[in-house]
C-alpha cells in the first residue's frame, strides 16, 4: 500500500470515528442564529469564523446565514423581528445603527456579557471604534466586528516613473502628483466614485469639520446637517475642477469598473478606499505590481484628526431564549480573543478592534511582512488624535437616505448638470427634511 492511500485510509477512518463521536454531542448543542451581510470572499471568511467557533467547543452551535449585503441583513432582520423569528445576532452596518439603537429591540453588549458571566475590558476597544457604536455617554451597545477606515492607495510603479517614492500627504501634493502622472501618460491618476464615506464622512472627520450640528447628532435628534457650509464644499469644487481637466476620473460599478478593480488592474494610480480592500487588492493585483497605502491626505495647514471607523458591528436582538444568549455570549467572547482577532485581520483586511489585539499582532511582527505591511497605518489614522465630539462618529437618523441625497448631488455635479453649491444646498435641505421626519417618527424618544 502506498503512503498516500494509507493516508487516505486513515483519514477516512478518522472521519468515521469523528462522525460517530460527535453526532450524539451535536444533538445536544444549543443552537443560535447569526445573520451577516458580508458577501463574496468576506462572506466565506465569516462562515469560516463560525466553523472555527463550532470546532472550538462542544456546547454551542452557531448557525450562520449570509443575507447577501448589508442593507439586506438589516431589512431581513427587521422583517424577522416583527414576525418574532429574529436571529440572535445580526450584523448591522454603520448607517443602520441609530434606528436599532432607538428601537429597544436589542440586548446591550455589556448586559449580555455580564449576565453570562464574561469579563470584558470595554476600555480596551479603540475609542474611535467604540464611540461609533456607543451611547453619547460612551456605553457600548453592540460589538465592533469588522472595522475599517479609509486609506489612500497608491501605485509605487507609476510614482517611480515620475521620480517619486512617497505618498502625497496633502491634497496640494495630490494635485501635483496627479498632473505629473497625467503628463506621463496615465489615463486615471486618481479614480473616485460617488460613495460619500470617503469624500464626505472621512474627509470631514480628519479635517475636524462637522457634518451636522449637535456634535454630528450625538447630542439630540434635532440636529441639522451643515456639510453645505464646511470645507467639504471647496473639496468637491476641487474634485470637480480636477475631473473637468481629466486629472481625476469617475470610476463606478455602473460605468463597468469600480475604484478597487480599477486600482488593482493598474488602470488608476490612486484611490481612496477602505483598508478592508487591502486583502482583495493584494490577491487580484498583478504579482509584480508595487503598491502601498497611506493615510488620507489633508489640505495644507490642517490639524489632522482621527478618521472614522467603517464597517459593521454585531447586535444581539431581544426576545431570544436563555441558551441562545449563552451561545451568543460565548461566540462574541470567542471572536474577541486575540487569536481570533489576528486570524480575522489576516484573512480579511479588517483591523483589530482592541488595543491588546493590535499590540499582540505588532509584537509578533505581523505588520513587518510584505502582504500585511501598511495595514498598521489604518490604526494610526483611526487613533491619530483622541476622538473629539466631532470625530466620535455620525449619529443621524435616516442616514442612508442622507448618504443617498449627497450621492445624488455628486452625480448631478459631476454630470455638469448643477453647480456645486446649488447641489449641496439642495442635498442639505432635503437631508434636513429626512432628519425632521425621523425625529417625528421617534417623537418622545431621546438619544441614549
Amino acid at each position: 500500500m502506498s503512503f498516500v492511500s494509507k493516508l487516505q485510509m486513515s483519514a477516512a477512518a478518522g472521519a468515521l470515528v469523528a462522525a460517530f463521536a460527535v453526532s450524539p454531542a451535536a444533538a445536544e448543542r444549543a443552537r443560535f442564529e447569526f445573520w451577516y451581510g458580508l458577501t463574496g470572499d468576506l462572506g466565506e471568511r465569516v462562515q469560516e469564523t463560525c466553523k472555527r467557533f463550532n470546532d472550538s467547543q462542544q456546547e454551542f452551535e452557531a448557525v450562520c446565514v449570509g443575507q447577501g449585503g448589508y442593507p439586506n441583513a438589516v431589512q431581513n432582520a427587521i422583517a424577522a423581528y416583527r414576525a418574532g423569528k429574529q436571529p440572535t445576532i445580526v450584523q448591522v452596518y454603520d448607517g443602520g445603527t441609530l434606528d436599532l439603537m432607538l428601537s429597544g429591540a436589542y440586548v446591550p453588549a455589556r448586559k449580555l456579557m455580564a449576565d453570562n458571566g464574561y469579563e470584558v475590558k470595554w476600555d480596551d476597544y479603540f475609542s474611535g471604534i467604540a464611540n461609533y457604536y456607543a451611547t453619547a455617554k460612551g456605553e457600548l451597545l453592540s460589538f465592533p466586528y469588522n472595522s475599517s477606515t479609509a486609506m489612500l492607495y497608491w501605485n509605487r510603479d507609476a510614482f517611480a516613473k515620475i521620480g517619486r517614492d512617497k505618498a502625497p500627504a496633502t491634497w496640494e501634493e495630490v494635485e501635483e502628483v496627479a498632473r505629473e502622472l497625467k503628463k506621463a501618460g496615465y489615463e486615471c491618476p486618481l479614480g473616485f466614485n460617488f460613495d460619500t464615506w470617503q469624500i464626505l464622512e472621512q474627509f470631514s472627520a480628519i479635517h475636524g469639520e462637522p457634518i451636522a450640528t449637535k456634535n454630528n447628532g450625538y447630542d439630540g435628534l434635532d440636529a441639522e446637517v451643515v456639510f453645505n457650509k464646511t470645507k467639504f464644499v471647496d473639496h468637491v469644487k476641487f474634485f470637480k475642477r480636477m475631473a473637468d481637466e481629466g486629472v481625476f476620473t469617475v470610476r463606478t460599478k455602473e460605468a463597468g469598473m469600480d475604484i478597487v478593480p480599477s486600482f488593482a488592474s493598474g488602470a488608476c494610480q490612486m484611490i481612496q478606499t477602505s483598508i478592508a480592500d487591502h486583502g482583495t487588492i493584494g490577491k487580484t493585483a498583478a504579482a509584480d505590481m508595487k503598491w502601498d497605502v497611506a493615510m488620507l491626505p489633508v489640505w495644507n495647514g490642517t490639524e489632522r484628526k482621527n478618521s472614522l471607523v467603517g464597517g459593521a458591528s454585531l447586535w444581539v436582538l431581544a426576545g431570544k431564549s436563555e441558551p441562545e444568549y449563552k451561545g451568543a455570549a460565548a461566540f462574541l467572547k470567542f471572536i474577541g480573543t486575540p487569536e481570533s482577532a489576528e486570524w480575522w485581520s489576516t484573512v480579511t483586511g479588517y483591523i483589530p478592534v482592541t488595543n491588546s489585539g493590535f499590540e499582540a499582532m505588532k509584537a509578533k511582527g505581523f505588520y513587518d511582512k510584505a502582504p500585511y505591511k501598511g495595514r498598521e497605518l489604518a490604526i494610526e489614522s483611526l487613533t491619530f488624535t483622541p476622538t473629539t465630539p466631532i470625530t466620535r462618529g455620525i449619529r443621524l437618523g435616516g442616514f442612508m437616505q442622507i448618504r443617498k441625497e449627497v450621492t445624488d448631488a455628486l452625480q448631478g455635479i459631476f454630470a455638469g448638470k448643477v453647480g456645486v453649491e446649488e447641489a449641496l444646498n439642495e442635498a442639505a435641505e432635503r437631508s434636513n427634511a429626512v432628519l425632521r421626519r425621523f425625529e417625528k417618527t421617534y417623537a418622545g424618544k431621546s438619544l441614549l
Partner: protein, 296 residues
C-alpha cells in the same frame, strides 16, 4: 326568451371559492390594507410603535420635486419601452408570418429573451454597454465621452428602456404572431387576387384585425413597465436609479426609500399613489383607447 341553467347551491359554491378568496385576501388585500394604514402613520422600522399623522405622508410625497421627476421618469420609461417592444415585436411577427425562410426556427427563437430573468438580462447589458470596459467601449475611443450612462441621465434612461424592450419583445411577438395566424387565410388570398400587395394587405387587413391583441399587449406592457418586477430588476442592476435620479422609477424609489432608507411610511404612501396611478391609467385605456379596437 333566453333560457338559463341556474345551480342553487349557495353555500357549496362559497365553500368552493373560499380557498381562492383566502389566498387573494392573504396575499393581496391584507398587505394592501397594511400599506394603507402605514401610509397614514409614521412607522418605526423595528416596530415599537407608530403614530397617526393623517395625510402628512402624502403631502410630503406630493410636494417633493424629486417625486415628480420620478413620475416623469416612470412615464417616459413606460411609454418608450412599450412603444419599442410593441413596434419591434410587430415587425418580427409580420415577417415570421410571411413564412420566409427559417421562420419556423425564428418562431421559437424570438421568445427566448422573455424566459431570461431580468437581473440576468441586466447583467449582460451591463457587460455590453459599460462605457469603459464593455463591448461598446470602442465608441468612446473614437469620440471620448460619447457614451457614458453612469454620468449621462438620458443615456441611462435609454439603456434601461432598451433592456426592458429587449426582454418584452419576445412576449409581444408570440401574442402578435398567434393573432396574425388566426386571421382567416381567405381574406388575405382574396385581397391578393384583387391585386393588393403585401404592404397594402398589412395596412388594411392585418393591422385592423390585430387591434384587440395590440390593446391587450398595450395594457400589459404599460402596467408591467410601471409596477412590474422586470423594471425593478433592470433598474436595480443597471443604474440603481441613478445617475442623479434620472432612472429612479416610482417602483424602484419605493424600494430604495422603504427598504434601503428605512422610511416605511413614506414608501407606503408612495405605493398607494402608484396603485391609484396605474388604476387611472388602465381606466383611461379601457375608456378611450378600447373604442378604437375592432373585435371582428
Amino acid at each position: 326568451m333566453e333560457k338559463r341553467a341556474v345551480f342553487r347551491a349557495g353555500s357549496l359554491a362559497y365553500l368552493l371559492i373560499l380557498p381562492q378568496l383566502l389566498l387573494v385576501f392573504v396575499f393581496f388585500y391584507w398587505p394592501t390594507g397594511a400599506a394603507l394604514y402605514w401610509a397614514f402613520t409614521l412607522e418605526m422600522p423595528w416596530g415599537g410603535g407608530n403614530q397617526w399623522v393623517g395625510l402628512e405622508n402624502f403631502t410630503a410625497v406630493l410636494k417633493d420635486g424629486k417625486y415628480w421627476s420620478s413620475v416623469v421618469a416612470s412615464c417616459v420609461f413606460a411609454f418608450a419601452a412599450t412603444a419599442l417592444a410593441l413596434a419591434q415585436a410587430l415587425v418580427l411577427a409580420l415577417f415570421v408570418d410571411r413564412q420566409l425562410r427559417g421562420s419556423r426556427g425564428f418562431r421559437s427563437f424570438y421568445v427566448w429573451p422573455y424566459a431570461v430573468a431580468a437581473p440576468a438580462v441586466s447583467l449582460a447589458f451591463r457587460f455590453i454597454f459599460a462605457p469603459e470596459t464593455g463591448l461598446v467601449a470602442f465608441v468612446n475611443q473614437w469620440w471620448p465621452g460619447l457614451w457614458n450612462p453612469s454620468i449621462n441621465g438620458a443615456q441611462a434612461m435609454a439603456l434601461v428602456v432598451l433592456c426592458f424592450a429587449w426582454k418584452w419583445i419576445g412576449y409581444n411577438f408570440i401574442f402578435l404572431l398567434a393573432a396574425l395566424q388566426s386571421i382567416p387565410r381567405a381574406l388575405m388570398e382574396a385581397s391578393a387576387m384583387d391585386g393588393a400587395g403585401p404592404l397594402r394587405r398589412m395596412l388594411d387587413i392585418q393591422l385592423p384585425l390585430l387591434t384587440p391583441t395590440f390593446f391587450f399587449l398595450l395594457v400589459i406592457n404599460l402596467t408591467e413597465s410601471f409596477v412590474g418586477p422586470d423594471s425593478f430588476g433592470i433598474v436595480d442592476i443597471l443604474t440603481e436609479g441613478g445617475p442623479a435620479n434620472a432612472t429612479n422609477l416610482l417602483v424602484y424609489k419605493i424600494y430604495s426609500d422603504g427598504f434601503k432608507g428605512l422610511d416605511y411610511s413614506g414608501a407606503a404612501a408612495q405605493s398607494i399613489i402608484l396603485m391609484l396611478l396605474v388604476m387611472v391609467l388602465t381606466f383611461i385605456q379601457f375608456r378611450w383607447v378600447e373604442r378604437r379596437v375592432h373585435y371582428k
